[in-house]
């Protein structure tokens, strides 16, 4: 049981504040990559500088046009997408997108999501951004299911080691690796990232999936397959976060199906210090702010002075004796 610890009169801001990646996060709630553009798209609609921060749309060295439509469709309890890393490329990101983030987000923390086809691609994005202002660190995307080779680095231990090790040599900024759930043991990949010098992990990216239009006998998604997100994947994300947290001691950003403070707290108890909200933003742009407020309210009701006290505070009961036959259990 989590119990109250006599928190006096801690404010909501005090309860949610954490020190991570060498800086202060005013809130554990961030917006997930691919669901908030480059931030500016939500100006005036989402109070970006009042929450924990955001992770930008993926940035690659070269601009990418992305996949043909349909790029998204609804699935039971979620959605499937195959945007295809449509992005403006590194040059335009630095010239057009980063200045807005630098000038407008002073309290929220920004991670730049980085993608590439080769280790050198990733390294170029990281190296060229390293000296720029307007962001805290990098989220390394080794887990996009919607482009050829998108999960290559995330599903092969040797490739992942090589990539993270190389990026560690390119920057002193925080490096967070966004993991794919599509591996037999996410804990091994999490540990490997830590060993190669990663500062944190994001768990998880979408699940590969497919949706078929039975009348046309064709895939609904232009790319044929896509990544599944939304409430349907919440338990898988919590599981992956718990596995990753159990295998490492670096901070984790929990992602997958979060639409309420209660959802976010499952990730926190499983070991996430921060959470990212994605699909729920489409459902309601105010959801991130709602989760932020809901977390503060939950901590206050439980007399917990700081969120950090419940990070990884999951208590797994000791195995109980097997239920005897005939009890109906």
């Amino acid at each position: 049981m989590v119990s109250g610890r006599g928190d006096g009169a801690a404010s909501a801001a005090d309860r949610l504040r954490q020190r991570l990646f060498g800086t202060e996060f005013q809130s554990p709630v961030l917006l997930a990559s691919g669901t908030c553009g480059y931030g500016r798209e939500y100006e005036g609609l989402v109070p970006l500088d009042e929450i924990g921060g955001l992770v930008t749309k993926a940035v690659s060295v070269e601009p990418r046009e992305g996949n043909p439509p349909h790029r998204i469709a609804e699935t039971p309890g979620g959605m499937i997408n195959a945007i295809g890393l449509h992005n403006v490329g590194l040059d335009r990101f630095i010239d057009e997108k980063l200045p807005w983030l630098r000038d407008n987000l002073t309290r929220a923390r920004v991670f730049v999501n980085v993608v590439g086809r080769t280790v050198d691609d990733f390294a170029e994005v990281v190296a060229r951004l390293d000296g720029e202002d307007g962001f805290l660190g990098f989220e390394i995307n080794v887990s996009c299911p919607n482009v050829k080779g998108g999960t290559m680095f995330g599903t092969d231990e040797a490739s992942l080691s090589q990539l993270v090790g190389r990026l560690r040599r390119e920057t002193d900024r925080p490096i967070v690796v966004k993991l794919t759930p599509n591996v037999p043991d996410i804990g091994r990949f999490a540990r490997l990232c830590e060993e190669e010098g990663a500062d944190g992990l994001s768990a998880i990216n979408t699940f590969p999936g497919m949706l078929i239009d039975i009348e046309r006998r064709q895939p609904v998604i232009g790319n044929v397959t896509g990544g599944v997100s939304g409430p349907a994947i919440l338990p898988m994300g919590v599981y992956s976060t718990w596995k990753a947290a159990s295998a490492t001691s670096i901070p984790i950003m929990g992602i997958g199906g979060i639409r309420s403070a209660e959802d976010a707290l499952q990730y926190v108890l499983a070991g996430a210090s921060l959470v990212q909200v994605g699909t729920a933003l489409f459902v309601d742009p105010s959801s991130a702010e709602g989760i932020h407020l809901g977390l503060a309210g939950w901590l206050e009701r439980h007399g917990i002075p700081a969120l950090s006290e419940v990070v990884g505070a999951l208590e797994v009961p000791e195995p109980r004796p097997p239920v005897e036959a005939g009890t109906g259990g």
Partner: protein, 284 residues
């Protein structure tokens, strides 16, 4: 969770500087809107009126709203759905034309007076009617929606508007008395099987002799034929396009349509109204 307070645009002041060129007004209004009425007006077709004074006041013909049910809802649909603003009233009502296709529209058809939905809007770029030329609206099926709004506004300002409206069959034809009431004039109806109005395709009604401003909204095949006709005859054409949409505000990049000359345009913020010549009609 504690629901966040709705974030309203300030209707009394000017919208803040537009962060994406051409997108207006910004920011959109987000609020819980009450259903005032919802009635079946033709086969699989519903006319939904919502109470939304701010969106009613801010909307321009061709713009759309996202209608959804919030994060606490797990019954389909999860994602909000885009709908053209079909009409607005001075007393703050917004009308939407709904045809049932999938989970989103089925749920909308079941809405009753007093129910609440989440509205975000108005969104996207409207039709541009600056040139003082006669207007011909070419509507296929529920593509009628933006033209109910547009024809009403334009006719009230003394513009000459022909409203050409096609359906597959007569059972699907929207309530024509309501069309007259909403738009202040008639619609010219075509059906493919001749069971209502004239027999044929709505494109058959187009008359280019007075160099009209052509506006189109409807199924992809209809828009493609319309774009082809306009290109061949040198006519000016704006179209309102439809694509699966996630956010409605340009973040998810889900709703792209092929741009002339290559690449993709986001229907939500660069559209939904485009000059037909700005799009590539050769790509399915």
């Amino acid at each position: 969770m504690s629901p966040a307070p709705p974030r309203h645009a300030d209707p009394s002041g000017p919208a803040s500087a537009d962060p994406i060129a051409g997108r207006s007004p910004w920011p959109p209004v987000r609020h819980r809107a009450r259903v005032l009425s919802n009635r079946r007006v033709a086969e699989a077709t519903w006319w939904l009126e919502l109470e939304s004074p701010e969106i009613a006041a801010a909307s321009r013909p061709g713009q759309f709203v996202m209608i959804g049910y919030g994060v606490d809802n797990l019954a389909p649909p999860l994602l909000p759905r885009p709908f053209s603003v079909g009409w607005r009233s001075d007393d703050g009502r917004v009308g939407l034309l709904v045809r049932t296709f999938g989970s989103g529209t089925r749920r909308m058809s079941g809405l009753e007076a007093g129910d609440e939905t989440l509205l975000l809007g108005p969104l996207g770029r409207p039709f541009r009617l600056e040139e003082d030329r006669p207007i011909q609206c070419v509507a296929g099926g529920v593509g009628l929606a933006p033209f109910l709004f547009l024809a009403g506004e334009a006719r009230a300002r003394g513009r000459e508007v022909r409203l050409l409206y096609g359906e597959r069959t007569g059972a699907r034809v929207f309530d024509l008395d309501l069309v007259r009431r909403l738009t202040g004039g008639p619609a010219e109806v075509w059906t493919e099987d001749g069971s209502a109005g004239r027999k044929g395709l709505v494109l058959d009604g187009i008359d280019l002799t007075e160099d009209p401003l052509l506006l189109g909204c409807g199924p992809g095949a209809m828009l493609r034929a319309l774009a082809d006709l306009a290109a061949r005859r040198g006519a000016s054409l704006q179209v309102s396009v439809e694509e699966h949409m996630g956010c409605g505000v340009g973040t998810c990049q889900g709703c792209v349509v092929p741009r002339a000359g290559g690449g993709w345009a986001k229907a939500c913020v660069e559209g939904p109204v485009f000059d037909a010549g700005a799009l590539d009609w050769g790509v399915p």
